[in-house]
């Protein structure tokens, strides 16, 4: 049986193998994903992002448990859930410690859940360059929900917004004043805003500040038809408080996307962004392959030594690449 057939039949080891092939960008991985592609398009992709330490993993743990419980949200039976948890790679050694599973131990033993940790492998923006491929693999394997937990994000790690249908931004009390809440970047990508650790001092204030900021926002981000009001929710992930509301808000957003045509708009952005990214990485790789060995390093050294301006180095590279 081929890898594709095994995955379509729900073989978890085969799926795990495919994810590794995709991560290592092997030919077999690309071919298998190509075969699986017609089976994608059903999963709801949900991004979970926020600053380090705001409680993303703990919240994901609770949320998945909530989705998997029998009390009906919108769908019964309970949806199957895949989790992609991205953590940063070391810029020096290229290694990584992926620790998101520590907070997700409640999900062990549930055959309807599949958790995969992922190192960012040098990609900036909050995701790894192959996270999109992972979502497609899980989608084809029949998972109803795919939760993507980003690297602990700063202000500009906003790639998740173009990779998911629904983006949940997690904040916690004490992380900044109301100017932070009105800056550009991560808060602009929220479809749902959460103040986690709501049992800590300053939580009410954080909630009010964010409500104000969301209220000032233009009605509906440009990527979405009008009519979605960004909810600002309070949660305590460690106790489970507020998780019902969050799960419900995610389901509401899905319904809104489906009914308003926003789903298709998001799909288009996702595919377009992915194609641009793949093109850029292919062109860079192809260009570097055509350079004479050592040429790039020589030019870097010339710039460091102030013998060449950075833009002159670029021009020299482009001249070389043309030949």
């Amino acid at each position: 049986m081929t890898l594709t057939e095994r995955i379509l039949q729900g073989d978890r080891l085969a799926l795990a193998r495919l994810l590794s092939e995709l991560e290592d960008q092997s030919t077999q991985g690309a071919e298998t994903l190509g075969d699986l592609y017609p089976h994608t398009g059903k999963a709801h992709l949900i991004g979970i992002t926020g600053a380090p330490g705001t409680g993303k993993s703990t919240l994901v743990n609770r949320l998945v448990k909530r989705f998997r419980s029998n009390t009906p949200l919108n769908s019964s039976p309970a949806p199957s859930v895949a989790v992609i948890a991205v953590d940063p790679s070391s810029p020096f050694s290229g290694g990584a410690i992926l620790g998101d599973r520590i907070r997700m131990r409640d999900l062990a033993g549930d055959a309807g859940v599949f958790i995969r940790s992922m190192a960012s492998r040098g990609k900036l923006g909050g995701l790894a360059s192959t996270t999109g491929a992972f979502t497609m693999a899980f989608d084809a394997a029949g998972f109803d929900l795919v939760l993507i937990e980003t690297v602990g994000a700063g202000q500009a790690e906003v790639d998740i917004a173009s990779s998911a249908h629904t983006t949940v931004v997690i904040d916690a009390p004490g992380l900044g004043d109301d100017v932070q809440a009105n800056k550009a970047g991560i808060l602009e990508i929220a479809d749902i805003m959460v103040v986690n650790k709501f049992d800590l001092p300053g939580a009410e204030r954080a909630l009010r500040t964010l409500e104000m900021a969301m209220h000032l926002a233009q009605p509906g981000p440009s990527t979405l038809p009008a009519g979605w009001e960004i909810p600002v929710l309070a949660t305590v992930a460690t106790t489970g408080e507020g998780i019902d509301n969050l799960a419900q808000a995610i389901m509401n957003h899905r319904r809104f996307l489906k009914e308003s045509g926003g789903w298709g708009a998001r799909e288009q952005i996702r595919v377009e962004t992915q194609l641009r990214q793949d093109l850029a990485s292919f062109l860079l790789g192809d260009f570097m392959d055509r350079l004479v060995e050592g040429r790039f390093d020589t030019l870097v050294k010339a710039v460091v030594d102030r013998q060449l301006a950075p833009l002159a180095a670029l021009e020299a590279l482009l001249r070389d690449g043309d030949q």
């Binding site: 080891l13 193998r17 590794s20 290592d24 070391s90 050694s93 290694g95 410690i97 992926l98 033993g109």
Partner: protein, 135 residues
């Protein structure tokens, strides 16, 4: 793109000391490996399930409780059952010399006691996975 070595670091059983496991995890990270750290009090079933989902090359078990002769064979058995016999299993912690031969016979590739240098562990992993280069 170069293939990364993926290692699952787990603490099965009931002892609550994970400083050693953390030191090793950190050393493996610095050697360019991707370490999935699962935390304390894992059952053998949880270890095997994580190893499957993460498709790791290596499982490192840290056991200080003395329960290794119960925990390790069970982990090996579960890995085999799910078709992951190729996974390299290493055990670190307090393992009496008398127990080592039996663990090796069961399929453990190496054991590491107190005082082992992290370099030694990195080397053992590279050898066992057939990747001698630094990354």
């Amino acid at each position: 793109m170069t293939k990364k070595i993926r290692v699952l670091m787990a603490k099965p059983g009931l002892d609550g000391h994970d400083r050693g496991a953390m030191v090793v995890a950190r050393a493996l990270r610095d050697a360019g490996m991707e370490v999935i750290y699962t935390g304390l009090r894992q059952t053998p079933e949880m270890v095997a399930e994580s190893a499957l989902q993460e498709d790791v090359d290596v499982v490192g078990l840290s056991i200080l409780s003395g329960a290794h002769m119960a925990l390790v064979p069970r982990v090996l058995e579960l890995l085999r059952e799910q078709g992951q016999e190729r996974v390299v299993v290493l055990v670190g912690g307090i393992i009496p010399d008398d127990d080592v031969p039996q663990l090796l016979e069961l399929g453990v590739v190496a054991t590491f006691g107190p005082g082992t240098s992290t370099d030694e562990i990195v080397r053992a992993i590279r050898e066992a996975t057939g990747t001698h280069d630094s990354d």
